[in-house]
């Protein structure tokens, strides 16, 4: 359409800066010694090392047998898993007495990202765990939360302070053998966040982890575990950014959620990893396994994701609806511009009686972006009276992008209901002209139309982040009409 819009395509990724900080890295490559080294960095107990080594064995077997997943509708060159660093941390990593001891360079980095960590500047009502490359560097509001029995902080600290909880739940939702990237993550994960909300407690603030990849040629492999006991409630948000680099970097995380009777977990993601440049050079490979287990009766897990970054996104936040009357929800906005590729969706596994799931997926493709919705709804033989509603809408900008929908339905009992609706639409030149004739610029018009398209998902985000997500969608789409 207009040339001015095309020029805006060159707008730079806002979070692409690099922090100049002294790093400690272990040698490149992947083997049992590397896994032992990572484990020793965190002073881990023997059982965890053993678990990691089993995961490594599994990964190496899968790699040797060629089990690299190929079913997703994404393409990228083969990854050399030996030509990569698996651990990088800002140096020196010593015990911090308080946040005031955090390296000022790191504090400045998070400030620049809009995540102030220092006491006087903290985000009101949000506790933040900041993960920088392989380690957690700070957690805010930790003490206040502990007064109510809520544990929130880095995964490595949780392994030291609450090993019984970690041993009980780690790998209980996503076993190391689950898939290729889960096996890799289980072997080499270095840190991540852990949250635990005890019986009957409603977490009084949003918990949030902010992931930042900084080091070069380094993969980020974090592990998040959230447990909500009977009747507990927690809302958790993660955000992520990375510097602009010419090479691709791997991010392979695993997230496990466990909700017991009447517990609720709301998990929101605003994913803004570096997407690569407009010719497809660089960017993060975001290969993530996220799964929640609704173990208890009437428990509820709700995933909301806004995926605007990464060169390739491969993720399917899922719910295992085990408890009777449990509820799973998946609200997703995925946006692919330029050369980005996304294959994303969810799995709703209905096991218990009268379980309910809702899937609302909004895909936006622009430039030469390609994206697929891939979703599985399985109604097990005992999931009597269960229901699913799925709605997948795609919005196309321009004629060089693509949108694909792959719904898989498996119904093993006669009393369940599954509904699936799908639409594809295009932002029309006539819609843009209509807006412009009313004095609204083309960019604002696109942003308005896209936000309107995503409204059902954006309203599921915590208030503070909904605004940020709306802006992000606008920025990610600049220059996409042509």
């Amino acid at each position: 359409m207009s040339e001015t819009i095309e020029q805006l395509a060159d707008r730079e990724y806002e979070y692409g800066f690099v922090t100049d900080i002294e790093m400690e890295r272990i040698p490149k490559g992947l083997n049992a010694d590397i896994v032992r080294l990572i484990s020793s960095k965190n002073d881990e107990p023997e059982w965890l090392l053993a678990w990691r080594l089993k995961a490594l064995e599994r990964f190496q077997k899968m790699l040797a047998e060629g089990h690299h997943p190929t079913w997703a509708k994404v393409s990228y060159p083969e990854i050399d898993y030996q030509d990569m660093y698996y651990y990088a941390a800002p140096k020196p990593k010593k015990e911090l007495e308080s946040l005031d001891e955090v390296d000022p360079e790191l504090l400045a980095t998070y400030d620049k990202l809009g995540i102030p960590l220092l006491e006087q500047k903290r985000l009101a009502g949000v506790a933040v765990d900041a993960v920088f490359d392989s380690v957690s560097v700070a957690t805010t509001y930790k003490d206040e939360l502990e007064k109510q029995g809520i544990l929130f902080g880095s995964f490595s600290d949780a392994v030291k302070d609450h090993p019984e909880l970690i041993q009980k739940y780690l790998g209980s939702v996503v076993p190391y053998s689950d898939n290729f990237f889960a096996a890799l993550n289980s072997a080499v994960f270095s840190d991540g966040s852990f949250a635990y909300v005890p019986k009957g407690v409603r977490c009084p603030m949003e918990l949030s982890t902010y992931f930042r990849i900084n080091a070069q040629e380094t993969g980020q492999f974090e592990r998040t575990l959230i447990v909500a006991e009977e009747g507990a409630y927690v809302s958790y948000l993660e955000g992520c950014t990375a510097p602009m680099r010419d090479e691709n970097q791997l991010h392979a995380a695993v997230v496990e959620l466990v909700a017991l009777d009447d517990a609720q977990i709301k998990y929101s993601t605003v994913q803004n990893w570096y997407p690569g440049d407009k010719n497809g050079k660089g960017g993060i490979y975001n290969f993530v396994t996220k799964r929640g287990a609704c173990r208890g009766k009437r428990s509820k897990i709700s995933w909301t994701q806004v995926e605007t970054g990464s060169a390739i996104t491969w993720k399917y936040p899922s719910c295992i609806l085990q408890g009777d009357d449990s509820v799973g929800e998946f609200y997703s906005v995925a946006l692919t511009n330029n050369m980005q590729q996304a294959d994303t969706g969810t799995k709703m596994i209905h096991i218990g009686k009268n379980t309910k799931s809702t899937i609302i997926s909004k895909g936006i493709s622009a430039g030469r972006g390609q994206q697929s919705y891939r979703g599985l709804v399985r109604m097990g033989p005992k999931a009597h009276g269960s229901r699913n509603y799925s709605q997948c809408d795609s919005l196309l900008l321009g004629d060089k992008c693509g949108a694909h929908t792959f719904p898989y339905l498996e119904v093993k009992n006669a009393s369940s209901t599954v509904e699936h609706e799908a639409t594809t639409s295009k932002i029309g030149e006539d819609q843009l002209f209509y807006c412009r004739q009313r004095g609204i610029s083309e960019e604002d018009a696109i942003s308005m139309i896209v936000n309107g398209f995503c409204k059902e998902v954006l309203r599921e985000l915590p208030m503070e982040f909904a605004v940020e997500a709306q802006k992000l969608l606008g920025v990610s789409l600049e220059g996409s009409v042509g």
Partner: protein, 250 residues
């Protein structure tokens, strides 16, 4: 207010406008009539800057400025309003939100303060009365599921809110029953004033009983072939467009 000289415009490869000359003074209402395919809607589109049309020759000056230099949104900010023949549906964006964004963009361009949500609501309610529009249309997506009449009322509502100085009504009467026509015309007449001009494009004389023009032009094959007073519209209605076919410009 508006000065069109020797305007030629194409849509794709086809030349649609073949040398239009038209001068509209402040406070004047001009009507453009003509058979299907004569170029009426192309003229409306060119005035608003619709990207589908290319101007190949000639000039348009608006308040002394070169209108063709301006992007569509800049024209809107400068006070040009097009009431669309086919108002566009935009799912997910509420009428309310859209109109407020539009009004504030235009107020900012005029050097006025933006209106807040409360003031906007009061203002909108007042204007909705004029076009007899039901309240619930404001909370719905723009034009989505609106009836033909509701869409046209919505156009006039926007016009009443934005208070433009030059208005183009592109076949606003098409698809309206007589009651809706009266309501819409009433809305348009609210805006008539010494500082505002209008170009009313219509296929039928009927609308001009309600919006009485100062001058009527007949467009045929991309040229204005006849101009006259309001009685010209009646003459056309009686004799049909066949009457002016082949006639030369006065």
């Amino acid at each position: 207010m508006l000065e069109i000289k020797n305007l030629h415009a194409t849509a794709g490869d086809a030349e649609i406008l073949k040398g239009i000359d038209l001068s509209i003074g402040a406070g004047e209402v001009h009507a453009i009539m003509g058979p299907n395919g004569s170029g009426k809607s192309t003229l409306a589109g060119v005035l608003a800057g619709r990207p589908a049309f290319a101007v190949t020759e000639g000039s348009i000056r608006y308040k002394g400025e070169d209108l063709l230099e301006l992007e569509p949104e800049k024209r809107a900010l400068a006070g040009i309003f097009l009431a669309f023949q086919y108002p566009v549906e935009i799912p997910g964006v509420t009428n309310n939100y859209f109109l407020k964004a539009s009004l504030n963009a235009i107020r900012t361009a005029r050097g006025e303060e933006e209106v807040d949500a409360m003031d906007f609501l009061t203002l909108v309610k007042e204007k909705m009365k004029i076009v007899e529009m039901p309240q619930d249309l404001m909370g719905r997506s723009i034009n989505e599921g609106f009836s033909g009449g509701e869409k046209k009322r919505n156009e006039i509502l926007q016009m009443l809110l934005l208070e433009p100085s030059f208005m183009v009504l592109d076949e606003t009467d098409s698809g309206l029953d007589i009651d809706a026509l009266r309501v819409v015309a009433n809305g348009v007449n609210h805006l008539r004033g010494p500082e505002r001009s209008m170009l009313v494009i219509t296929h039928y004389q009927r609308l001009l009983d309600y919006i009485v023009p100062d001058v009527v032009h007949v467009l045929s094959e991309g040229r204005i072939v006849r101009s006259g007073g309001k009685e010209l519209a009646h003459e056309l209605e009686e004799k049909g467009y066949g009457w002016i076919e082949g006639a030369s410009a006065p």
